[in-house]
Symmetry: C2
C-alpha cells in the first residue's frame, strides 16, 4: 500500500507533505496530495525528519537489561552474561530482538547493525518488526587457528540462513574482535567479504588490551594489522575505536572503513578513555553512532546517546564549541557514514524511511529545533516511525507492543535473569 503524509512541517517551519510508493519517496513538497486508496498519516504539529541509525548493537540483549549491572566488565561477562547466553535459544533471541525493535521504533531508529547469536531469529524479528538491519553471527575462535574450520562453517551457515532475508535485512560477517579471532580467520573473513561483497562488523579497540595484545602477537599496532589483512575496506564497520591512535587513524582513513562510536556504553563499562572524535573527523573517517547492547547502556534510545556523544566530546576537548548540535544530529542520522544505510536526506527517490516528531513537545520549544532534538529531547518525542513506506508506529503506538513485552519477559524468566 502507498502512503501519504499531509500537514507536516520541515525543521525550517515550512509546510511539507510526502507520498511514498512501493517503499520509496515518490514526491515530497508543500503541494503533494494523497491519491485514492493511500494509507494516510496526519502530520499536523509534527515535524518530518530522517530517522536515526544505530550503528552497533546486540539487540536481543534487552533480555539481560539491568541483570548483574554495575560490575567490572570481565566479572559481568564471565560470571553473568556468558553463562546466561549459553542458555539462549532461537526463540529467546527472537523475542529479545523484538523488544529491541519495539524500543527502536518508539524512539525513531529506522536501521541498525546487529551482532548476535541465532542470526536467523534476529532476521525474522527484524522482518516482523519492520525495521532495517545488518545481521551477523559473532565469529570467535579464541585465537586458535585449529578452531578456524568451525568458525568458517558457522559463518557460511549463517550467510546461507540469511541469504533470502533482504532487502530490509542484510547479512554481514561479524568477527567478534581482533583479540578473540585468529589472524587466519580474520584473513578468511576479509577474503569472503571481498568475494561475496558482504559487509564486516567487528569490535575494534574498545579496551586497551586489544592494542597491547595485537602488538604482542603480531608486532603491529591494530591499524596496520587490520590493513594488512584487508579488513579496513569501505565494507567494514568498526565498533568503538576508543583506543585508536595515529597508526589507526591513518590506516582506517586510507582503507575507507566506517567507525561507530558508542559513548554511553563506553562510559558505563568505564573503558578508560573517550573516543578521539576530533582526530577521527580530521582524518576524514566516516563516523556513526551506536548504543551497543541494551545491557551495557541500558537503553536503545539514540536521542539520549546523541546528547551524551556531544557532551562527552565537549568535556574531553575542554571546549563547549566541540561537536555542535547540527553535527551531532547529522551523525545520529547516518549522514557522516553513508555505508551504515541511513536516509539522512528525504528526497524523491530515497527510501521512504522517516519519522514524525511532536514539535509541540514542551522540551522542543520555544525555538532552535535541532539543538533541542540533541540536547533536550528523549526518544518519546517521536510520534510516528515509517520504514520502507510502512507505518511502524502511529500516534506513539506500535502494534503487538503488549505481546512483545510479555513474551520477552517470559524468555528472560526462562533464562533466569530476572
Amino acid at each position: 500500500m502507498n502512503l501519504t503524509v499531509t500537514g507536516a512541517h520541515l525543521p525550517s517551519g515550512e509546510p511539507v507533505a510526502l507520498r511514498a510508493v512501493d517503499g520509496t519517496i515518490a514526491a515530497i513538497g508543500a503541494d503533494v496530495t494523497a491519491e485514492l486508496g493511500d494509507e494516510h498519516l496526519d502530520g499536523t504539529d509534527r515535524v518530518l525528519l530522517p530517522g536515526l541509525v544505530n550503528g552497533h548493537t546486540h539487540a536481543a540483549m534487552t533480555l539481560f537489561r539491568g541483570f548483574a549491572g554495575d560490575r567490572a566488565l570481565m566479572d559481568w561477562l564471565e560470571h553473568y552474561i556468558w553463562p546466561a547466553e549459553a542458555r539462549l535459544d532461537a526463540d529467546d533471541v527472537y523475542w529479545g530482538t523484538r523488544l529491541a525493535c519495539l524500543e527502536m521504533i518508539r524512539t525513531g531508529t529506522i536501521a541498525f547493525w546487529d551482532m548476535y547469536w541465532e542470526p536467523a531469529a534476529v532476521a525474522r524479528a527484524v522482518t516482523d518488526a519492520g525495521l532495517r538491519a545488518h545481521v551477523g553471527l559473532p565469529l570467535i575462535d579464541g585465537l586458535d587457528p585449529s578452531r578456524g574450520k568451525a568458525l568458517r562453517d558457522d559463518a557460511l551457515r549463517s550467510l546461507d540462513e540469511l541469504a533470502d532475508t533482504g532487502p530490509r535485512v542484510l547479512p554481514c560477517l561479524a568477527p567478534h574482535g581482533i583479540y578473540t579471532v585468529s589472524t587466519d580467520s580474520l584473513a578468511w573473513v576479509a577474503e569472503q567479504s571481498a568475494t561475496r561483497d558482504v559487509p564486516v562488523h567487528l569490535h575494534y579497540l574498545e579496551i586497551e588490551d586489544e592494542v597491547t595484545g595485537c602488538l604482542d602477537r603480531s608486532g603491529l599496532r591494530p591499524g596496520p594489522y587490520l590493513a594488512g589483512l584487508g579488513l579496513l575496506t569501505p565494507r567494514v564497520v568498526l565498533a568503538h575505536g576508543v583506543w585508536m591512535e595515529d597508526a589507526e587513524l591513518g590506516a582506517v582513513a586510507a582503507g575507507g572503513a566506517t567507525v561507530v562510536t558508542d559513548p554511553v556504553s563506553n562510559l558505563k563499562l568505564a573503558v578508560g578513555r573517550v573516543f578521539p572524535y576530533g582526530a577521527v573527523r580530521a582524518a576524514g573517517i566516516p563516523v556513526g553512532l551506536g548504543t551497543d547492547g541494551a545491557s551495557s547502556n541500558n537503553g536503545l534510545d539514540l536521542f539520549q546517546d546523541v546528547k551524551v556523544l556531544s557532551l562527552l566530546q565537549k568535556h574531553a576537548a575542554n571546549d563547549p564549541r566541540v561537536l555542535p548540535a547540527d553535527e551531532a544530529w547529522a551523525i545520529a542520522t547516518g549522514a557522516h557514514a553513508p555505508f551504515l544505510g541511513g536516509v539522512p536526506e528525504l528526497v524523491s527517490g530515497a527510501p521512504a524511511d522517516f519519522v514524525l516528531v511532536r514539535s509541540d513537545a514542551p522540551e522542543l520549544g520555544p525555538g532552535h529545533l535541532t539543538a533541542n532534538l540533541v540536547y533536550a529531547a528523549a526518544g518519546h518525542v517521536v510520534d510516528a516511525t515509517v520504514v520502507a513506506g510502512r507505518v511502524l508506529m502511529r500516534d506513539g503506538r506500535v502494534d503487538d507492543e503488549a505481546e512483545v513485552r510479555t513474551k520477552a519477559a517470559e524468555r528472560a524468566a526462562r533464562l533466569g535473569v530476572l
Copy 2:
C-alpha cells in the same frame, strides 16, 4: 479534595494503594480503600515511586533553550544570555518558569531550587503549576562593597515579596557566587540566613577561576573562606562543587552544607573537571542532583541527568562499579540530601508527593526496575505526578499545557531569542 490511588504496585511488585488527606499521606498499603468523594487515580500497570528533586536550576531559562548554544561560556553569557536577560520582564519569567514546571511535572520532578530574576513571578508560576520550590533572587555586587547596600535592599525586598508564598514555595537568599559577591555582602547573607532561618543557595566552584580568584583576594581556599563567613551551615545549598578539594571537603562536611552536582551542565559547558563524587561521599557531605538552567543542559528531565551522573562517575573513576543504580536513584529523589526537601520515602504522615510510572514501558522491562529507571528510561515513563495531594499530571497530560507552550514561545519571540 482528598485523593486515593488504587491498583498500583511497589518496585518489589507488591500491590499498593495510597490515600492522601489535606496534602499528606494518610494511609499507604495493600488494603487502603477510597472514601466517598475522594479524587481517584488508577494505578493499574503503574509503579508508585517518590518524585525527583532538582537541586539547582534557573527555571525561566527555558526561554533561552538552544539560543546561541555550543559557545564558550563567557562568550555565550556576555554576548547572548546577559543582553537577553536585560530585556526580561516579570511576565517573561512567569511563562518561562511555567514551561519549566510543565517539563518537570511531565518528567516526575516534584520540587526544585531556583535562582533567577523576578522571583515573585517565579513563585507565582510555581504556585500555579503546583510544584514545590525554593526561590531566590540572584544577588550580585560585582565584588564591590559600595554596591552592597543595593544588594541588601534587593535581597530584603525579594524576601518581602516571597513572604506569603508558602508552604509550597519558600524563599531563599541566592548570592550568585564567591566570584561575583563581595565578602561583606556574603557575610551579611550569612547573618540574615541565621537570623531569619532562611536557606542560602549559591554557585560554588563550577569553574577553576573561582578557586584562584578566592585565593588571590582572601588568601584562603574557598572552603575555609566560606566557613569563616558562616556560609557552610546546614541551611546552605552549594551548586556544582566541581573544583572542591580537601580544604573544601573538610569545611563543607564540618559545616553541614549540601552540595548539588549538575553533571550534564558541567559537561555541556566543559567546566574542565568531573565532580569529585567519591571524595564528597566519603566526607559524608549530603549530595543532590540538579539540571542547572535549561539553556545549559538543555532539558529539565532528571531521568536523563541521573544516568549521566552515574556514567560520568564510572568513567572518571575508571570503574563501572562506582555509583550503582540504587545509589544514583536515591540521590535523584533527594534521599542523600534531606535539606533539599524531597520525599524519598512514601510513608504515612509524609507529604503526598509522588509519581506513578508506566511499568509497562518497554524500556523498563523485562526486570530490574531501579537499574532501568536510571540507565534505560527517560522522563516520559512518568504517567502521573502528584504534589501535596494534587494531581498535576494524569495519563501523561497536564492541564494548560498548550497555553504554557504558546505563551512561552510568545515571550521568547518578544525577547528576540528565537
